[in-house]
Structures are given as structure tokens and as C-alpha cells.
């Protein structure tokens, strides 16, 4: 039974997504409980899957019984197991949030909406497990198509932002596919494990170099690496407030995971550390992204845009971590990736909640929050502490391990980049806090609103999660070091 768990984990949201249009013909109100139940099921299955992986080792799932490299294979190893647990948990909290009564009633559009959300989660699961480059592309596209539709759901400006996302995303996907074509032409296989055997002798080949470059640029657009990030701020700012957390916390992170897979499992840790200068490039771009993202966040007035730019900077930090070429840096990077998913979700929960409760979209309006319950500000402060990197939150330990890895690699520029990004993050959150905690002017009566349960649960869960991640960081990182680092690193 254990060996089927990866497929079951994927099928759960997929089956519900395709049954919803038929269920929704009669019972529209079932969408919400069914979606939440499915996500709870996914959490349980993903935990069981991780336990199975720890017990029996990596699970290779051959679809249709055709063994790799001929057939389509899914690989559930330690890293994929951890990622899917995080994905299901964050996905569950995001689905609870987006089904809140806080948001306008969707009417008949509730059915396609939940279908898209569940398809998005299913395809991200598929990306995490995909064992060959082409299936990674397929799931990348499925997830992107769902994301475009979700961004453009509101019509008007969101449609424009979604269309730009579509054009750039499709361009990225095409580049990725072109790169896969180069690798296929050179090696004759698409399976990652098979490629890992055939690529090392060809590592000097120009075709491989060009192919990898195309794949990196393609995935770079998808993960919004800084010079290629043009689509992201508008897409996240104009996306419906109920879906921004899910997009911000999951979509770019899984594209980044795809790149980690290709870099360390296809090219091989040995090649990227000793033979080709790809790590230097990734680290450099990561550092640039970390700094520019934080700088741009500092100059934003719109709260959602500010958080979106903050997310860009954190993608850069993860890349700095994994580019250090040692186990500590890699585990730190992956740990930071998990933290970032939680933090981004939490920040966009907060932004979505204040937009709909108090009508606050820009930083200057934040003074209207005086009637807001104190715990909402506490949640913001906790998540912000983690974004900045102050103990005992998860963000601090993520940066800590990245810096430890940088010391080990004697890469002092990386340390400088992480520290400067930290200071800039502190700066833009101070800008936010300055407004949130400013003395109330006498003529402004406090707005007191009932905060819906779903918002309490989701915002509370994320802010508790960043502290738990911080307190458990030692266990999680040693777990990652033991089970999830690429072979040969």
C-alpha cells in the first residue's frame, strides 16, 4: 500500500477537481466542505507517505506498470516527501482562508473556482514527484494555467495582469521545453535518474550547457527570479485577495524546487560543485534578487505589492542557500523555502483580511486599523519577525543555516548579501509598523469588525507555525541533512 501513496496523494485533489463540476450542478454549497476534507486527507496521506519513505527508502512509482526509463516514473524521496507535507499543510490553510465568509459570495462561479484551486494543488503535487523532465513541464504548465485563470478571475485590471503573467509564463515554459529538447537530443532520455547517469560524461558539451541555460531561464521566469520577475507584483497585487496567499506561498516555490531537482539530481552535485560554474551563477543571481527585491519592497505603497516584492527577495535567499555547494547551505536553503511558504501565506492572509475588513490597501491607510483586534497585529509582528530573521522564529534559523553554509564555503559575499537583505527587510517592515502602531488621531473613530473564524484559524495557524518551525529547526534541519540532501553533495 505504501508504494501507492504518491499516486493517491495526487489523485485526491484531482478526482475532486474533476467531480466538482458535476456535483456543483446540484449542490453548490458542497464545494467548500469537500475541498477542505480533501486537503485534510492530503495532509494525512502526505504524512503517511513521508513515514513510508523513511521506512522503505525512496519510492519509485511506475505508472501503468512500465518501468523507467521507458515508462513514466514518479520518485518520492526524502526531499519530495517533506515538500509534499509542507504543500498539503499550507494548501489546507490557504483553502480554509479562501473559503472564508469574509469574501464576496461567488454564486455560480464557485464551482470552477474550487476546481481551479484543487487542480492547482494537484499539479503542484505532480511537479514535486515528477521523475522525468517532460512530466515536470506538463505539471508546470497545468499549475501555471490554473494560476493564470485564478489571477484573472476578478476581470478588469486583474485580467490584464493575468494576461501578462500568461505571456511571460508561456514564454518561460517554452524556454524550459526547448532546454529539455537539447538534453533529450544529446542523451536520448528524459528520465531524471537515467539522465544523471548519462549527463556526467557529456558535461563539457555545448548542447548540454545551452539546454541547462534555457531550462534555468525558463524556470527563472516561473519562480520570478529578479531580472525576470516582471509579471509577479501585478499578478499578486491584482489577484483576488482570497487566492493571493495560495499563489504567493506555493507556485513560485515549487518552480524553485524544480530547479533544485534539475541542478542536483540531473546534472549531479559533483558536476555543479566542481565542473561547471552554475552554482556561482545561481548564487550571484540569488544575491542580486535578495537585495533588489527588498529594495523594491521598500519603495512600495500598496501592501500586497510590498509583500510580493518581499517574496522575490526571499526566493533569492533560498537560491543563495542552495548555491553554496555544501550540505549545510543546501539544508538551510530548503528549510528557508519551507519557512518562506508559510510566511508568504501568512502575510497575504493578513493583507487580504485587512483589505476586506477595514478597506486598507495602501500603507498610508493603515492608521484605520485602530479598531482591529490586538491579536491580528501580534500575528503580523510574529510573521514579520520571521521575515526579518529574529529568533525564535523559523526565518532566523533558515538564515542562520544559510550563513553557516556560507562560512563553510568561505563565501563572504553571500553572508553580506543575506545580512543586507535582512536590514532592508527590517526597513520595510518598520515602514509598515510605523503606521500600524501610530497614535490614533482623535477625529477617527475605531472601526470594530467581527473577524471571521476562517481568517482567525488561517492567520493564527501560520503565525504559530513560524514559531514552531523556529523551535523545531534543529530537528528539521538535521532531518533534512539525513534524508533530503542530494547524493554526492
Amino acid at each position: 500500500m505504501t508504494r501507492h501513496l504518491p499516486a493517491i496523494l495526487f489523485l485526491l485533489p484531482l478526482v475532486l477537481a474533476i467531480c466538482l463540476p458535476l456535483i456543483g450542478l446540484k449542490h453548490r454549497e458542497w464545494c467548500r466542505p469537500l475541498a477542505i476534507t480533501t486537503l485534510v486527507g492530503m495532509v494525512l496521506v502526505s504524512v503517511a507517505n513521508l513515514a513510508g519513505i523513511l521506512q522503505t527508502g525512496t519510492i519509485h512509482y511506475a505508472f501503468g506498470g512500465w518501468a523507467a526509463p521507458v515508462g513514466i516514473e514518479w520518485v518520492a524521496d526524502g526531499l519530495a516527501g517533506v515538500l509534499t507535507v509542507a504543500l498539503s499543510l499550507v494548501g489546507l490553510v490557504c483553502v480554509i482562508f479562501l473559503s472564508s465568509v469574509l469574501f464576496p459570495y461567488l454564486g455560480s462561479r464557485i464551482v470552477p473556482f474550487y476546481t481551479l484551486v484543487l487542480l492547482l494543488i494537484a499539479s503542484l503535487t505532480g511537479m514535486v514527484f515528477a521523475g522525468d523532465l517532460f512530466n515536470l513541464f506538463v505539471f508546470l504548465e497545468v499549475s501555471a494555467l490554473c494560476a493564470y485563470a485564478l489571477v484573472g478571475l476578478a476581470g478588469g485590471k486583474a485580467l490584464f495582469a493575468g494576461f501578462r503573467y500568461l505571456i511571460l509564463g508561456t514564454f518561460g515554459a517554452s524556454l524550459y521545453l526547448l532546454g529539455v529538447g537539447y538534453l533529450y537530443a544529446e542523451t536520448g532520455t528524459l528520465n531524471m535518474a537515467d539522465l544523471a547517469l548519462r549527463v556526467p560524461p557529456l558535461v563539457g558539451s555545448k548542447a548540454i550547457a545551452v539546454g541547462v541555460l534555457f531550462m534555468f531561464i525558463g524556470l527563472g521566469i516561473k519562480m520570478a527570479l529578479v531580472p525576470l520577475h516582471g509579471w509577479l507584483p501585478d499578478a499578486y497585487a491584482y489577484a483576488p485577495d482570497r487566492v493571493s496567499p495560495m499563489l504567493a506561498s506555493l507556485v513560485t516555490k515549487v518552480a524553485l524546487y524544480g530547479w533544485i531537482r534539475i541542478m542536483f539530481w540531473v546534472l549531479g552535485a559533483h558536476a555543479v560543485v566542481y565542473q561547471i560554474p552554475v552554482l556561482f551563477l545561481v548564487g550571484f543571481l540569488g544575491a542580486v534578487a535578495a537585495l533588489i527585491g527588498a529594495f523594491l519592497a521598500l519603495s512600495q505603497e500598496n501592501i500586497k505589492r510590498m509583500f510580493a516584492y518581499g517574496g522575490l527577495s526571499h526566493i533569492g535567499l533560498v537560491l543563495v542557500g542552495i548555491s553554496l555547494g555544501n550540505q549545510t547551505g543546501f539544508a538551510g536553503g530548503v528549510f528557508y523555502l519551507l519557512n518562506d511558504a508559510v510566511m508568504q501565506a501568512g502575510l497575504f492572509f493578513w493583507a487580504g483580511a485587512i483589505i476586506h475588513l477595514y478597506g486598507v490597501r495602501n500603507i498610508e491607510d493603515l492608521t484605520r486599523l485602530h479598531g482591529a483586534p490586538g491579536w491580528m497585529s501580534v500575528a503580523l509582528v510574529v510573521i514579520a519577525l520571521s521575515m526579518i530573521g529574529i529568533p525564535p522564529t523559523g526565518g532566523f534559523f533558515g538564515k542562520w543555516y544559510i550563513i553557516l553554509g556560507a562560512v563553510e564555503a568561505q563565501n563572504y559575499l553571500a553572508i553580506a548579501a543575506v545580512l543586507i537583505a535582512t536590514l532592508l527587510t527590517l526597513a520595510y517592515f518598520l515602514k509598515l509598523f510605523e503606521r500600524v502602531f501610530r497614535e490614533r488621531s482623535a477625529d477617527q473613530p475605531p472601526l470594530i469588525r467581527e473577524v471571521p473564524l476562517a481568517v482567525r484559524v488561517s492567520l493564527g495557524a501560520t503565525s504559530v507555525a513560524v514559531i514552531v518551525l523556529g523551535l523545531m529547526s534543529d530537528h528539521i534541519v538535521s532531518f533534512l541533512l539525513k534524508n533530503a540532501v542530494p547524493p554526492g553533495l
Binding site: H4, I8, L14, I18, L20, F63, G65, R109, A154
Partner: protein, 149 residues
């Protein structure tokens, strides 16, 4: 074309062509087991027949209404596909491993035949519905609208 095409020649010819295209789609679907073709191509050919239907007879005609009704089958194709795969999973094999499709009195090659055919039918339905919905939304749906979400 929201109303019926006014040329009798066009109407009569399409009455002849539409069933022919659909028959050919079915042929491609079933022949896909032995030669080129299969669910995807069959679905596309079926779509062309449906597009011709509402171009010539309009969406308000009985034929056009049938096309609109088909849009509800969006999930149906995938349910067939995933259902076949799921039955294999229940039968003890991997997802889509048709040899584990538990049909009593049928040997493994025949099981594979049935399994592939069913999966292809699922693919064909889905491709057909997707094609129609693309054409319909490009042709008729208003995009200027803003929604409250």
C-alpha cells in the same frame, strides 16, 4: 453566428458532413489501437463537427443546444480516465496498469485492450469538450465584465 445560416446548400451539405465527421472520429478512436490515431485526434475531429454544427445552425437551434449541453461533460472524460486508472489501482497494480483491471473471465491482453480503449474514450470526450469551450468562449462570451471576488 448566433442565428442559422441562410443558405440551403450550406445547411444540406453540413447535415451530410457532420455525421460523416463524427463517424470518422469514432473510427479514429477505435482504430487508434492498431494504427495512428487515438483519443486526442478523435476528440479534435468530433470538435470540428460540433463547431460546424453551431456555425451553420446557430446556438439556438436544437443541434446548437446539444453543443451547449456537451459543455457540462467537462469533467466526465477525466472521470472515465481516472476511473479506469483507479480501478487498476484497486485491482492491486499501479495507476493505469491495465493488466490489473479486474474483469472476471478476461485475460490480461484483453484487459489491456479494454483499459486502453476506455482511457482513450475519456481522453476523446475531454478534448472534444475543451475544444468546444475554447471556441464558444472566444466567440460569444463577454470579456469586458468585472467581477467581485
Amino acid at each position: 453566428m448566433k442565428r442559422m445560416h441562410d443558405s440551403l446548400i450550406v445547411q444540406t451539405m453540413s447535415q451530410l458532413l457532420i455525421p460523416l465527421a463524427q463517424l470518422f472520429a469514432l473510427y479514429v478512436l477505435f482504430f487508434g489501437q492498431y494504427g495512428p490515431g487515438g483519443g486526442f485526434v478523435a476528440g479534435v475531429i468530433w470538435t470540428t463537427s460540433m463547431i460546424l454544427t453551431f456555425l451553420v445552425f446557430g446556438l439556438k437551434s436544437p443541434q446548437g443546444r446539444f453543443v451547449e449541453k456537451m459543455l457540462h461533460g467537462d469533467g466526465l472524460g477525466l472521470i472515465v480516465f481516472v476511473g479506469v486508472g483507479g480501478l487498476c489501482l484497486i485491482g492491486g497494480g499501479e495507476f493505469l496498469n491495465y493488466a490489473h483491471l479486474d474483469i472476471p473471465g478476461v485475460d490480461a491482453p484483453a484487459r489491456r485492450y479494454i483499459g486502453i480503449l476506455l482511457a482513450q474514450i475519456g481522453v476523446a470526450i475531454d478534448v472534444a469538450v475543451t475544444g468546444i469551450s475554447i471556441v464558444l468562449s472566444l466567440a460569444y462570451h463577454d470579456t469586458e465584465q468585472e467581477y467581485d471576488v
